[in-house]
């Protein structure tokens, strides 16, 4: 990977009673989830990368640019804070325009952000009158409108009830897809990680771990669409997910956590999908094997060695599909 495409750092930050230390190279595409339990240093890492921790020692490079001594206002990081931090003395519109004016965002781009986040109806409102989910959307829009080169999201779902999460999540994937932005996403939620992560950077006790690939995913074109569902063809099987799409659209499917590799088809099952796969060898990580499906290779949990080329079945209790910020979830059905 060339230097132009990564955010690399080697940092040490000593705070009272806590030390954050480690190095990593984060590819500047897709969503990188910074994971770890509360107090592990995830947020501190994000803050240090954004230039908000002046006591941090070491170096940060963004592509070819040295960020080590660059003040936060020059880094062009779109930072969405956990607590929103909207300017309460300004309307929603002035909040969104704050960064846009300082980074000379064209009006058309600004309108695009407002449209993508469905904020047209609330531009005149004050932050105090917004619901939790609305405030997160405004904070996201404010960050996007400032023409960021990378988006930092600090637990943007914390404190939202599941319904509001479902409301905000699609906007985040849409931001990453439509605006082509690399996203660093701090979260301790397995659910969000499973849904969003292209890769994962674990942080534990202030130590930054080694980068891991995100959960397995499959890219498949829609074979049939209509009637509130989209259908894919996988290794001769017909797989249907609820959702709206068009034939030929490329969707991303994620088997999610808890998938099981089996030598024989389980027959009648409550699993969301049973996918025919081919063993492709051991994975570097322990207790994982690599499998191939439709010409795509990924790693799944597996307890024993399989001969390369052996035909297997991947039983997925859950399967999620997404296209451009629209997520469809299938928990229990499997099309025949």
């Amino acid at each position: 990977m060339s230097a132009a495409e990564v955010l690399s750092f080697d940092l040490r930050l000593e705070l009272p009673g806590f030390t954050l230390q480690g190095a990593a190279e984060i590819p500047l595409r897709g969503i990188t989830v910074i994971s770890g339990s509360s107090g592990s240093g995830k947020t501190t890492l994000l803050r240090a990368l954004a230039g908000l921790e002046p006591a941090a020692r070491g170096h940060v490079r963004f592509g070819r640019q040295d960020w080590t001594h660059l003040p936060p206002e020059k880094r062009q990081v779109g930072f969405v804070f956990q607590d929103g931090r909207l300017f309460r003395h300004m309307s929603v519109e002035r909040n969104i325009r704050y960064g846009a004016r300082r980074r000379a965002t064209p009006e058309s781009e600004l309108r695009e952000v407002i449209r993508a986040l469905d904020l047209e109806g609330m531009l005149a409102r004050r932050p105090a009158s917004l619901s939790g989910g609305e405030a997160r959307r405004v904070a996201l829009a404010r960050a996007l409108a400032s023409r960021p080169r990378v988006l930092f999201l600090d637990e943007p779902m914390v404190g939202l009830d599941p319904e509001r999460r479902g409301e905000v999540l699609p906007y985040i994937t849409r931001a990453a897809d439509e605006f082509g932005l690399a996203v660093l996403y701090v979260s301790h939620s397995q659910f969000e990680k499973g849904l969003l992560a292209d890769r994962e950077l674990p942080v534990a006790g202030g130590r930054i771990g080694a980068m891991r690939d995100g959960p397995a995913r499959l890219e498949l074109p829609v074979a049939e669409a209509g009637g509130g569902q989209v259908v894919f063809r996988v290794g001769g099987e017909r797989l249907a997910l609820p959702g709206e799409g068009e034939v030929g659209q490329l969707w991303e499917l994620r088997p999610g956590h808890g998938s099981i590799l089996a030598g024989a088809h389980p027959g009648a099952t409550t699993a969301a999908a049973v996918l025919p796969v081919v063993a492709a060898g051991r994975d570097e990580a322990p207790r994982r094997v690599r499998v191939r499906i439709e010409g795509q290779e990924f790693s799944v949990p597996g307890e024993r060695d399989y001969a390369p080329g052996e035909k297997l079945w991947l039983i997925c209790p859950r399967l999620r599909g997404r296209w451009r910020g629209g997520w469809a979830r299938q928990e229990k059905q499997r099309a025949k």
Binding site: A50, G51, L52, P71, E73, F81, L86, G99, R142
Partner: protein
């Protein structure tokens, strides 16, 4: 009539000028006090609050020493303007700035503290320099604190007596402000004049305080809310 209104006009001029100068000094200082983690902070805070606890005569005495034409400050003033700083209107302005210092700094400091680091960080990630963020975020959010500081400084300067007497004396048109005029009126048994000015000052001070408390109530516990 001009003579009768002279002290009033002089007091207003002194209070207005003091307020403007003091806010210009207090804004950056209060910001520093609200944000700094420097070990020097308690000392600066103590110096700022000194005029609250010192007798005006003590403060006036030191100011007089400082403004003496033999002192560096006094000599510099004489060199520049050709006049002495003590017993002059500029000297009075200087003394008022020192005397009213805590009344400008403390409400601003409280207001700035309530702004918090969070929104300032948000502004910086959105491309605002420190000065820009101060102007567009911290200052508007501290509007009420700023108003409180201005009103208190103005009212406090209007009501000062001891320091004025020490460093300004009683020169008509130069240093004879309302409080001094009241003192003179009582000395010469002109009670009607003393009543007139005292009642005016009392009413003004009362209204001022009501306005300040009403502003604070609207802002909840935070002066700068």
């Amino acid at each position: 009539m001009t003579d009768a209104w002279g002290p009033v006009w002089l007091s207003l001029k002194l209070a207005g000028l003091t307020t403007v100068i003091l806010l210009a000094i207090a804004l950056p200082l209060a910001w520093w006090l609200a944000r700094s983690r420097s070990p020097l902070r308690p000392f600066v805070e103590a110096v700022t609050a000194l005029p609250l606890v010192m007798p005006p005569t003590v403060l006036g005495f030191y100011l007089l020493v400082l403004m003496n034409p033999d002192s560096p400050l006094g000599r510099a003033f004489v060199t520049i303007t050709g006049e002495t700083l003590a017993f002059s209107f500029p000297g009075l302005v200087f003394a008022s700035v020192i005397y009213s210092f805590p009344f400008a700094v403390q409400p601003l400091q409280t207001a700035f503290q309530s702004v918090g680091r969070g929104v300032m960080e948000a502004a910086s990630t959105l491309g605002a320099s420190r000065l820009d963020a101060f102007r567009t975020v911290a200052l508007p959010l501290s509007g009420r604190g700023l108003l409180t500081a201005a009103v208190l400084t103005f009212a406090h300067t209007l009501g000062e007596f001891g320091v004025v007497l020490m460093v300004g004396g009683n020169i008509p048109g130069q240093t004879r402000v309302i409080s001094i005029e009241v003192y003179s009126a009582v000395e010469t048994l002109d009670y009607a004049r003393a009543h007139q000015l005292s009642a005016g000052l009392l009413a003004f001070s009362f209204v001022t305080l009501v306005v300040v408390y009403m502003l604070n109530r609207r802002g909840g516990v935070h002066v700068g809310g």
